[in-house]
Amino acid sequence: MKRSLVGIFVVFAFLLAGVSFAGAAPDKIVIGHPACLSGKYAKAGEQAVGGIKACVEWVNTTYGGVQVGDKKIPLKYKYYDCESKKEVVTSLIGRLVSVDKVNVIFAPYSSGLTLRGAPVAESRRILYMDHGGASNAIFRQGFRYIVQTIGPATRYHEGTLDMIHKIAPNDKRLALAYEDSEFAKMVMEGARDHAKKLGFEIVFERTYPKGVTDLTPLLSALKVSKPDLVLGGGHFEDGQLFNRQMADLNIDVNALSLIAAATLPAFYRALTTMAEGVMGPSHWEFGVKYSAEQAKATGLPWIGPSQDQFMALFKKFTKKDMLPDYHAAEAGAQVLAYVLGVQKAGSMDSTKVRQALGELKFMSFYGGWKVDESGMQVGHSMVDVQWQDGKRVIVWPEAAKTGKACYPMPTFEEKAKDVKAIPK
């Protein structure tokens, strides 16, 4: 009898203890991430991990942790290498949720990998934050736990068109020539819709296949349509080819903007002066002018490190003398969005945080942040970069620009004589 009473007492004591443990605020909030540290997205993955570590450090030290109720809770970052492989992503998400008990999953880089992990996160009812998947298709599946920080593909060229609409309102003849891929088609779908809203006339629209080695016939046809501006590209290699063969055929337009190619230093290294004046949309570039003062002026709350602080933290964690690129910035900004979401929800519960994120608007070093009902990013503006005298200059939007646009860009004949794109 005595033994039974002791037994009951012990069980009761454990139960009570359990209740009290469960009721207490956790001592950490864990971000889980199947990161692309090897494989084809290794470079983007390295940047993303550096960006996340930098912002986690900023939250834990400068910001003092995440305010939940009356307690400040530090962030912990748990990541594994997904090898840029879809099958590894799905198993790692399972592990992060079941074994590591993370509070949120940060999606891996790229639309394909993000889309592959989304149903797994959805089935586990855990918040799934997308910093590297731009495809709108991700948000057309009806997922309820996904939230995006990277801008969607359909908004890539909005800024370019807005800028030209403002600086040259009479230049309305637009040509679209792009790779026959899901991503490029999505980008151009958005460009086409936005162009129509702004009154542009689409005088040419054609696609070319992946892996194309000669664009001469397509570009010859484009030349005949006499466009004022050309939006094109798809991936890096065809972007290079596009620019080069426009130069070969003397196709002079006032503006040329190429997705996924023109913003990269390797683009200029390959084309040298032929790349002068060529533009490209980017999610973020080092040098953007977003600041706490700007946030105040636009009526948005500001959070996070300044751009220079972010760079210093990024270098500290990557242990390399490299600049953070947009992969790092969007991953870092996602940490800040999650922190604000948890604080607004007053909880780490994924459903509540997802709801809070749906109502959130803020600005950070990455720019604006706001999502629509589907979780797709609508508050972040792409920046437009132009090659001027061998340097990348941010020419749009006004809030982020570091210099004026050179419009019209020099002709290819002029570029062959080493004329640089210098704004007047």
Binding site: T213, T216, A221, A270
Partner: protein, 295 residues
């Protein structure tokens, strides 16, 4: 407007076709003499492209000078691979040589990646343009075309007028008979393989003169596919047939685009590829030895 565009594209097609033809001659030569299908063909084109890039960007050497350099380097590579791999597999089942040439291709790609990285590179050789009214032709493309034709003619003369060329031709006709007549068949195989690789590496230079961007370790894949189509068009075992096959392919690729552009609702590029492979299939069915092969 239609005829202007068609004319312009056909001119571009001839220029491109000559380079395509040149890029296929090595493949046909190796198959013709050794009966080895070099599936690593594109990797040797890539080596030529990187050689041009290196010579131009690092040493300032004109791509025209890079053509003989690439040819010599290619012949050296051909001899190395012949004596280390191909010679031992000539009598083996065809699958063995297919796998061996595939492995050589992968080996070269990974080696170049190790040295130069996987970045898409390019160079900017500005030597002026000719405005023909209906199209603009950069001089670099014209030089590539002239270079291709010259090399094809020189190869033809070498085969017809020299003892070494005659020896190789006799090995192609009947290797046992050639051996009985005192021809060193092993030497003929080695020379043909190294000559084929030399031509292929040199064609990498000509291709970068035509398109001086997109140079990366895996660029050869697209050209391997085209080379097989062209080789079959011209006759898989005939280097000259391959050259003419290249011209035909270039004309089909560029000329048909203009025609297909007038069909509403279709993307012309999708149909040009379709047409190329339809023609390939038809030729295989009607004349399996290729256009220029009688047998």
């Amino acid at each position: 407007m239609f005829f202007e565009q068609l004319g312009g594209n056909l001119i571009q097609g001839i220029v491109l076709g000559a380079v395509y033809g040149m890029a296929t001659m090595g493949l046909s030569l190796i198959f013709g003499v050794l009966k080895v299908v070099n599936v690593g063909h594109g990797a040797f084109i890539m080596v030529g492209a990187f050689l041009t890039l290196f010579l131009f960007s690092s040493l300032g050497i004109n791509p025209i000078i890079a053509i003989p350099v690439a040819f010599i380097v290619g012949m050296g590579l051909g001899l190395i691979f012949y004596y280390t791999t191909i010679r031992k597999l000539i009598k083996a089942p065809e699958l063995a040589t297919l796998l061996a040439t595939f492995s050589i291709g992968v080996l070269l790609e990974e080696l170049v990646k190790l040295i130069f990285g996987s970045e898409f590179r390019g160079y900017n050789w500005v030597v002026g343009k000719i405005d023909l009214g209906i199209t603009v032709l950069p001089m670099s493309k014209l030089y590539a075309c002239i270079g291709s034709v010259l090399i094809a003619v020189l190869l033809y003369l070498w085969f017809k007028k020299t003892r070494a060329g005659s020896a190789i031709r006799s090995v192609v006709e009947d290797s046992e008979g050639a051996r009985v007549c005192g021809i060193n068949v092993g030497w003929a195989y080695a020379l043909s393989f190294s000559l084929g690789i030399g031509l292929t590496v040199a064609s990498g230079v000509l291709l970068t003169m035509f398109i001086p961007v997109g140079i990366n370790p895996y660029m050869g894949g697209a050209y391997t596919l085209k080379a097989f189509v062209i080789a079959v068009l011209g006759g898989l075992a005939s280097p000259y047939g391959a050259f003419f096959g290249g011209l035909v392919f270039g004309l089909i690729e560029n000329g048909s685009y203009t025609l297909f552009a007038y069909i509403p609702g279709v993307e012309p590029f999708a149909l040009t590829r379709f047409l190329s492979f339809v023609i390939l299939l038809v030729i295989l069915l009607i004349r399996p030895t290729g256009i220029l092969r009688a047998k």
